[in-house]
């Protein structure tokens, strides 16, 4: 874990554990989240990300371990903590019968804000997520991307210090994802602490200052995206795709190749090497003819594969 003792700790967990019956969703994780950073929980479905988010969101009591949010106990002071959090849940909980603006008004009332304040904030927030021209429209026909932006606007109605986002762009098309990322980046610039889960590599790389890789309820690794890639991945990756008939034979041959590491996937073979072009030349030299080849830099996807032996989106 990176130590940054000079900044204020907003969330602290020690040995945080969550079990459901005999199933352990989160198994004794430790972390500190600092004010102003964007912190990511990365992992495949079922890794324990959402359970962790729910505990931080004070809607799920930890089974054991310590958890402190904004210096308070989530079980005893849940209501007071939630008043200072914003939550963007994995599935939208917008009221589709109401208009865009009404969704914000209803939500602001939950926080006990005066109507005048809610109206002012709603107008500014709809401007911020570029939905001002849809304020009077019903939510139902809006696209997934617009609904997500509305959910983000709604989560900001109480001017939260921490914004919790559970897979903020899952199910959105690439363009809509970029708009969401841009808005989240702006929030971070304004000092909002972001905590997000994702199983998208590019999302983590774009948004997160630090992240943890979660697998089976534990942290497999922690650090900045760049650190993780430097620590767990070679500088370059050579991706080879062979004729399916020849895939296994090629894999056998490449296993005792002088790569740092070789990963054989169902459809591709990845060679982790210092110099991708040199490695490709060497592959040709031993008489292998891949259908396609690609030299690229190492990514978080490779880190995850290395740490867990699984792909993220499996």
């Amino acid at each position: 874990m990176l130590e940054r003792p000079e900044t204020e700790v907003l969330v602290r967990a020690r040995g945080l554990t969550k079990t459901f019956g005999s199933f352990t969703a989160v198994e004794g994780i430790d972390f500190d989240l600092y004010r102003g950073e964007a912190f990511g929980f990365l992992g495949p479905n079922g890794a324990g990300k959402s359970s962790t988010m729910r505990m931080i969101g004070c809607v799920s009591p930890p089974t054991s371990g310590e958890l402190s949010i904004l210096g308070r106990d989530p079980v005893r002071d849940g209501s007071a903590i939630r008043a200072r959090l914003g939550v963007v849940p994995q599935e939208d909980t917008l009221d589709v019968e109401l208009t865009v603006r009404e969704n914000l008004l209803v939500y602001g009332r939950y926080f006990g804000l005066p109507r005048r304040v809610i109206r002012e904030r709603a107008a500014a927030l709809l401007e911020f997520v570029q939905l001002a021209d849809r304020a009077g429209d019903k939510v139902d026909p809006l696209s997934g991307g617009l609904k997500r932006r509305l959910t983000i606007a709604r989560s900001l109605i109480n001017e939260p210090e921490i914004l919790i986002l559970d897979e903020p762009t899952t199910g959105l098309d690439p363009q809509a994802r970029h708009v969401v990322w841009d808005r989240l980046f702006r929030l971070k610039q304004r000092g909002v602490t972001l905590i997000l889960t994702t199983h998208y590599m590019d999302e983590a790389e774009q948004l997160c200052d630090r992240l943890v890789v979660m697998d089976h309820g534990r942290f497999a690794a922690a650090g900045s995206p760049r650190d993780l890639i430097a620590r767990y991945c070679s500088p370059e990756v050579l991706e080879l795709r062979f004729d399916p008939e020849l895939h296994d034979a090629a894999a056998d041959k490449l296993r005792d190749f002088s790569a740092e590491r070789t990963e054989v996937l169902a459809d591709r073979i990845l060679l982790y090497v210092a110099d991708g072009d040199a490695a490709l030349a060497a592959v040709h030299a031993v008489g292998l003819e891949p259908l396609t080849s690609l030299v690229r830099r190492g990514t978080l996807e490779d880190v995850f594969l290395h740490l867990t032996g699984r792909r993220l989106e499996d």
Binding site: T93, E97, Y107
Partner: protein, 288 residues
């Protein structure tokens, strides 16, 4: 760019240092938190009240018209002593008031509760705010009571229009009917939040609501039932609601004050148990 995070005139918030002597905030008064949830339901209801008002008005007109006037003319020809010497219309109308309260309660406390978890997910959204599970429950219950009170008011007007009221005591039939509704709404909502598949509600409607409507002294006096069944009917919650509303509407309540207190106590206990249980079942379902 609009300043989304300008704090305006708000008092400056100094975030507490971790582990330091942070003064715990004074939590809002719980009923006020529940009232916030209630306001959400009002906003939603503003969108749909027009469609709901038709069934609220037409239902009692049909029931009181068909039973009180239609069936009543047949019954009254035999001037039955078991009705207590009043017209069938006067006999059946307060029972329709009480059973209508029960029906509204069942309608509002079943699918809407389930839907707030599964369909429009109102509860899930509210949960991320300062509202706790008990606040969410009580806020929704407030709305259910409002709907019960609205529908009971309509039935009272229809009763008056049909000339089915025999006494000024009828003003007390109104709170009695609302209490009857609450005695159903609270326990049903407490149960509905635990329901995993929506077909469970069909069983409640078929095997609880309809028998209660038929055998609680609604359409005929329970003195007509064989003794064993009569004792059973007297244990049913709707019978107490019907007896209370009928005694006030016919003006016979003053003759049996202890009986009236007994009916009211039965319904109050049922409501209280439901309110107590709901805070727990909502917590168990939402706070996992």
């Amino acid at each position: 760019m609009v300043a989304v995070f300008s704090r305006g005139d708000d008092p400056p918030e100094t975030p507490p240092a971790l582990g330091g002597a942070s003064r715990p905030p004074k939590p809002p008064w719980p009923p006020w938190l529940a009232f916030r949830a209630f306001q959400c339901w009002l906003t939603v209801y503003r969108r749909i009240w027009r469609s709901s008002i038709w069934s609220s008005v037409l239902g009692p007109i049909c029931y009181i018209g068909a039973l009180g006037l239609g069936l009543g003319t047949l019954v009254d020809r035999h001037s039955l002593a078991s009705l207590g010497g009043v017209s069938y219309l006067a006999f059946v109308a307060p029972a329709i008031l009480a059973s209508g309260a029960m029906q509204t309660a069942m309608g509002e406390a079943s699918y809407p509760v389930f839907g707030s978890l599964k369909w429009n997910r109102i509860y899930i959204g509210a949960q991320a705010s300062p509202l706790g599970p008990a606040d969410i429950f009580r806020g929704h219950l407030m709305f259910m009571v409002m709907r019960i009170a609205m529908n009971c008011a309509v039935v009272m007007v229809v009763m008056w229009a049909f000339g089915a009221i025999r006494s000024a005591w009828v003003v007390l039939a109104y709170p009695a009917a609302v209490l009857t509704g609450l005695a159903f709404a609270a326990p049903i909502a407490a149960w509905a939040v635990t329901v995993k598949v929506e077909t469970s509600f069909n069983y409640i409607f078929r095997f609880v609501m309809i028998p209660l409507m038929l055998f609680s002294g609604t359409f005929f006096p329970i003195s007509q039932l064989p003794p064993g069944l009569r004792a059973l009917a007297e244990a049913l919650p709707l019978w107490h609601g019907v007896a209370l509303c009928r005694a006030f509407s016919l003006g016979t309540a003053a003759g049996d004050p202890l009986g009236m207190l007994g009916h009211a106590a039965y319904l109050t206990v049922l409501a209280a148990v439901g309110i107590w249980a709901g805070a727990r079942t909502y917590r168990r379902r939402l706070y996992v």
